[in-house]
């Protein structure tokens, strides 16, 4: 008679994985078993309803279908080939952009709930667009309802910090050049540099002057150079930068340098006026974060490729508006799951403290969502002091993110980890099972409009957003998922 073997349970000596009370493990060890202990934490925050939902999603009839959907989504993300294909004006190239529409970072928000830096950016945007002559008029206009506010993410765009996009701003156009082209086109403004800048809510004369320079010199020169040189393979560039100490969010020095080196000849050739060319090259050279506004639309493009699997539990958007944090799942695009924006732990510039800081803000967490930024921390030991740690902590962060992701992106290899790919594809199920939140590297904005950046550090999303996403996804799977037990 050959019955079940229960996985060969009775054959040979016993090796055990143990979860829970220590005495049980000790007894097994005392009688000859090899015991591996699991560091148990209650899943899903210990909440009975969420544990039930999570158990169903991990072990129930739909679990394997969800795994397969995630694998397909991840494969498309990895296969996408975002290229910088050009520079256009927001009102001309961004789908749905209109003259009375301002785009902002994070989930939807009305003027009355906007934080200081976002209000400052809106005021600066109105001054820049010539819609208001002074701050008072701009504030009145913003509150009047004459301007509509919508998230960048609703228009395939992303923006760092306040993420403000006004109709006349120049934007990078990024396009998925993979055969399937599932990522489509994504958009992002050009990076202004550090200090007093619009994205941190500053709107002084120097901020507006810089925006004018970017519109009238930087964008046209770069556009001409790009037309001459042809599209730039952003993933290829990012892959090199990860091996040169960047993580694509808080450190962009290597990628900016690589882009500069790549574009410089074309800029010179495409520009009659040598001084004009030099000003543009100086501007790019003087801004270590210039590439951030390309790593972000690159990440957005990769994640758009991962969207649309009806059973995928992968996160495809994480974004903050300085008041709320919001995330979206690839299976439910357009649905925001929100929680309060968190305070950033980090280092402050001289003269500033945590009391000056605004809660977390910006679409830049799209980099972590795509598996770089904080998820590639191991690649960027140079910036570990921002997150108050050591190079070993950086490696630990990347390793820990591997516990909540569906896989790795072999295109983004980290030398420090034996060239394994960055952990990619945040699975809401694994976040809830592990009790581990995504680790996001970020800048810190001053809470008052007009001041600018005051530091940089590390932040985690609020649990509320993941808890809400878990329960909604569970409902979604019940509605559309397989019901037969395998």
């Amino acid at each position: 008679m050959t019955g079940p073997s229960a996985g060969g349970l009775l054959e040979g000596s016993l090796e055990i994985v143990h979860v829970g009370i220590e005495a049980v493990a000790l007894a097994a060890e005392a009688t000859g078993a090899h015991v591996t202990r699991v560091d148990f934490r209650p899943p899903a925050g210990g909440d009975p309803a969420r544990i039930r939902a999570l158990s169903e999603l991990l072990s129930g009839p739909a679990a394997r279908a969800i795994d397969a959907a995630n694998a397909r989504a991840l494969a498309r993300l990895v296969a996408s080939r975002p290229h910088l294909v050009g520079i256009g004006v927001a009102r001309d190239v961004i789908p749905g952009m209109a003259d009375d529409l301002f785009l902002h970072a994070g989930p939807p928000i009305s003027w009355d709930r906007m934080c200081g830096p976002l209000r400052g950016a809106v005021i600066g945007g109105l001054l820049h667009e010539g819609r208001a002559r002074d701050v008072a008029e701009a504030s009145r206009l913003a509150a009047s309802g004459a301007i509509r506010f919508e998230p960048c993410h609703h228009h395939d765009a992303v923006g760092p910090m306040a993420g403000l996009v006004t109709p006349s701003m120049p934007v990078f156009v990024v396009e998925d050049r993979a055969a399937e082209g599932a990522g489509g086109r994504t958009y992002c403004t050009l990076n202004e540099g550090l200090g007093k800048v619009l994205r941190y809510g500053a709107f002084s004369g120097e901020v507006l002057a810089r925006l004018r320079f970017m519109q009238t010199e930087l964008a046209p020169v770069l556009a001409a150079a790009l037309a001459l040189r042809g599209p730039v393979d952003l993933k290829h560039l990012m892959a090199q930068a990860l091996q040169m100490g960047d993580e694509g969010h808080n450190r962009n020095r290597a990628a900016t340098s690589l882009l500069f080196r790549d574009l410089a000849p074309a800029i010179v050739r495409a520009t009659e006026d040598r001084e004009r060319a030099a000003r543009v090259l100086e501007f790019v050279n003087g801004n270590d974060h210039f590439f951030l506004n390309l790593s972000m639309p690159m990440a957005k493009c990769m994640l758009k490729a991962a969207e649309g699997e009806p059973l995928s539990s992968l996160v495809t958007v994480m974004a903050r508006n300085g008041t709320d944090f919001g995330l979206q799942l690839g299976s439910m695009p357009g649905h925001w799951f929100k929680g309060p924006a968190q305070m950033v732990r980090g280092l402050y510039f001289p003269g500033y403290t945590e009391a000056d800081a605004n809660p977390d803000i910006g679409d830049s967490a799209i980099t972590e969502t795509a598996g770089i930024g904080g998820f590639a921390m191991a690649a960027a030991p140079a910036i570990v002091q921002f997150v108050g740690g050591t190079a070993a902590d950086a490696i630990e962060t990347t390793r820990e993110m591997g516990q909540i992701t569906a896989g790795a992106n072999p295109g983004f290899a980290i030398p420090q980890l034996g060239f394994t790919g960055t952990p990619t594809g945040i699975d809401v199920r694994l976040v809830e099972e592990r009790g581990v939140l995504p680790s996001i590297n970020t800048g810190i904005a001053h809470r008052e409009p007009g001041v600018g950046q005051v530091g940089a550090g590390l932040v985690h999303p609020p649990w509320e957003a993941f808890h809400a996403a878990l329960l909604a996804f569970s409902e979604h799977v019940r509605a559309v998922g397989p019901k037969d037990r395998g």
């Binding site: 055990i16 143990h18 493990a25 560091d39 009790g435």
Partner: protein
């Protein structure tokens, strides 16, 4: 009274450690009450009702540890608060202090690093147990599920899934298993041998395996199923799988099934399975009169008899139905520890199955017993009649350690019942082995001595005490030493609960002898 509620965020501790923290804080000078619990909704309600209502308590989550302190003085409260860090450091596993590798965070991660592990053992609080067990099944591993307080519906779902996957789920509430010589939960260090056991009863498996070990027979494997496996709802699915595993196991020559109060329909269906296993089978349904069977399945009248029958069937030439050759523990003469006296019997057990076995044997000898479901309190007057008390039952163990680990409650009852002049004799069990109290006999000896002293001052008759010791020669407590200590204190020692019950019968006057 000074009250303080402390919440340690994200500081998950298992129930054993929480009890340890509570105990150590309670022992501090001036501390009236100290309770460490995780901040689940149930626990928060419990604490609020116990006079610890506090805004901090309302904010606690199931991942936060709540420590509630009540002390006589503000100073004592402050001292206790200061001691918490020290107590917590002591409660943490040793290797956390700069020790070796970080532990894996999930079953899947652990299995990825140790793919040869075939079993996942789960001893987490009940509300998390089926989640973790399912994750083990996801990885194609069988499960030893020590956790209790798992809803019946979850158990049914887990076991249905295990059947589909061809995997074994031992539990929930599985106290004992021995797989390939490794003890899981509460188990005795018994020799390996030809008898395989499937049991829905932890102490039933322990007594059976120890009896076989003492007889020099040994066991191949003991597969636990959890106490509800033979209920109508569960339907005996894991019992059936365990039997089938042992039927195809080359090391197993004879199979014993032990369970308490199976559902009649399930037992009928199982009989068909048992008859077709192709190996000799012995069954002991604890607390029940065996049905005669003529198709080779031997239903024993006691665990003793089951062990004896199994040794016969497992030996060379032993045959099914060869009951005439039965000898050994079950049939050795029963001694009389002294002249019978007036009064009643009180049985105070740590093992539920042993309690049931004792009650059955007493009844068979005309001693009717009352099985007390209510929680008895030391010092309060006892209910009338011959009593059987399972101090390992739910009434005694919710939020408290099992009497096999911590005898405080049972020893209190020994003192209280033993001092009662209406009580002629005490009937006890003492379960040894891994997981159990490391040196239990001295505590029993002290409690019995206290009871006898109190009784003498009240002018009562001598108190007879009979203990069944469930232990093997190799158990960490030193079974011989434990027995010697008991005997030295004028306590009669037997090897099984059934024998102890029969001895106890002889200590009281006028039981009706029933011929068997």
């Amino acid at each position: 009274m000074n009250v303080l509620v402390l919440v340690r965020e994200g500081c998950y501790q298992d129930s054993a450690r929480l009890m340890q923290v509570s105990r150590e804080l309670s022992a501090l000078p001036g501390v009236v009450e100290a309770v460490a619990m995780m901040g689940t909704e149930t626990n928060r309600t419990l604490l609020a009702e116990a006079g610890f209502a506090d805004p901090a308590l309302d904010r606690a989550t199931p991942l936060d540890m709540v420590v509630a302190l009540r002390a006589g003085t503000a100073h004592a409260l402050e001292e206790a608060q200061g001691a918490l860090a020290r107590v917590l450091a002591g409660a943490a596993p040793a290797e956390k202090a700069g020790g070796p590798a970080r532990r894996p965070g999930t079953v899947a991660e652990a299995l990825a690093a140790h793919p040869a592990a075939r079993l996942v053992s789960v001893a987490v609080p009940g509300p998390y147990a089926s989640f973790v067990a399912n994750r083990a099944l996801d990885e194609g591993r069988s499960v030893f599920l020590f956790s209790d307080n798992v809803p019946l519906a979850d158990e049914v779902a887990l076991k249905e899934r295990a059947v589909r996957l061809g995997l074994l789920v031992m539990g929930p509430d599985c106290g004992t298993a021995i797989i390939a010589g490794t003890g899981l939960g509460f188990a005795n260090r018994v020799d390996r041998g030809p008898v395989g056991i499937v049991g829905a009863s932890g102490t039933g498996i322990q007594e059976l395996s120890c009896t076989l070990d003492r007889a020099g027979v040994g066991i191949s494997h003991a597969i636990g199923t959890g106490s509800r496996d033979l209920s109508e709802a569960v339907g005996g699915s894991m019992t059936e799988m365990g039997l089938s595993l042992l039927a195809s196991d080359p090391d197993t020559r004879c199979i014993v099934l032990v369970a308490k109060h199976p559902d009649a329909g399930v037992a009928r269906r199982l009989h068909g399975v048992l008859a077709k296993l192709g190996k000799p089978v012995v069954v002991r349904y604890l607390g029940e009169v065996p049905h005669p069977s003529d198709d080779g399945v031997f239903y024993a009248r006691s665990l003793d008899e089951a062990a004896t029958a199994a040794s016969v069937f497992a030996s060379e030439g032993g045959e099914i139905g060869d009951t005439r050759s039965l000898s050994g523990t079950a049939f050795r003469p029963i001694p009389r520890p002294g002249p019978p006296g007036e009064g009643r019997l009180v049985g105070l057990f740590g093992g539920g199955s042993l309690a049931a076995e004792a009650a059955f044997v007493l009844a068979a000898h005309g001693v009717a017993t009352v099985v007390s479901e209510e929680r008895l309190t030391a010092g309060a007057s006892l209910p009338s009649g011959n009593l059987i008390v399972d101090t390992g039952g739910d009434a005694y163990t919710v939020g408290r350690p099992h009497p096999m680990v911590d005898q405080t409650v049972r020893c209190g009852l020994i003192r209280s019942a033993g001092a009662d002049p209406s009580v002629r004799g005490l009937l006890l069990d003492l379960v040894l082995g891994d997981g159990a109290h490391l040196d239990p006999a001295p505590e029993i000896v002290r409690a019995v001595a206290d009871a006898r002293a109190a009784r003498t001052t009240r002018g009562g008759s001598p108190l007879a005490v009979v203990v069944s010791v469930c232990g093997s020669r190799r158990d960490p407590q030193g079974t011989e030493r434990q027995e010697r200590l008991l005997r030295g204190a004028d306590i009669h020692v037997e090897s099984t609960a059934a024998r102890a019950a029969r001895v106890a019968v002889r200590t009281i006057c006028c039981p009706v002898e029933v011929s068997r």
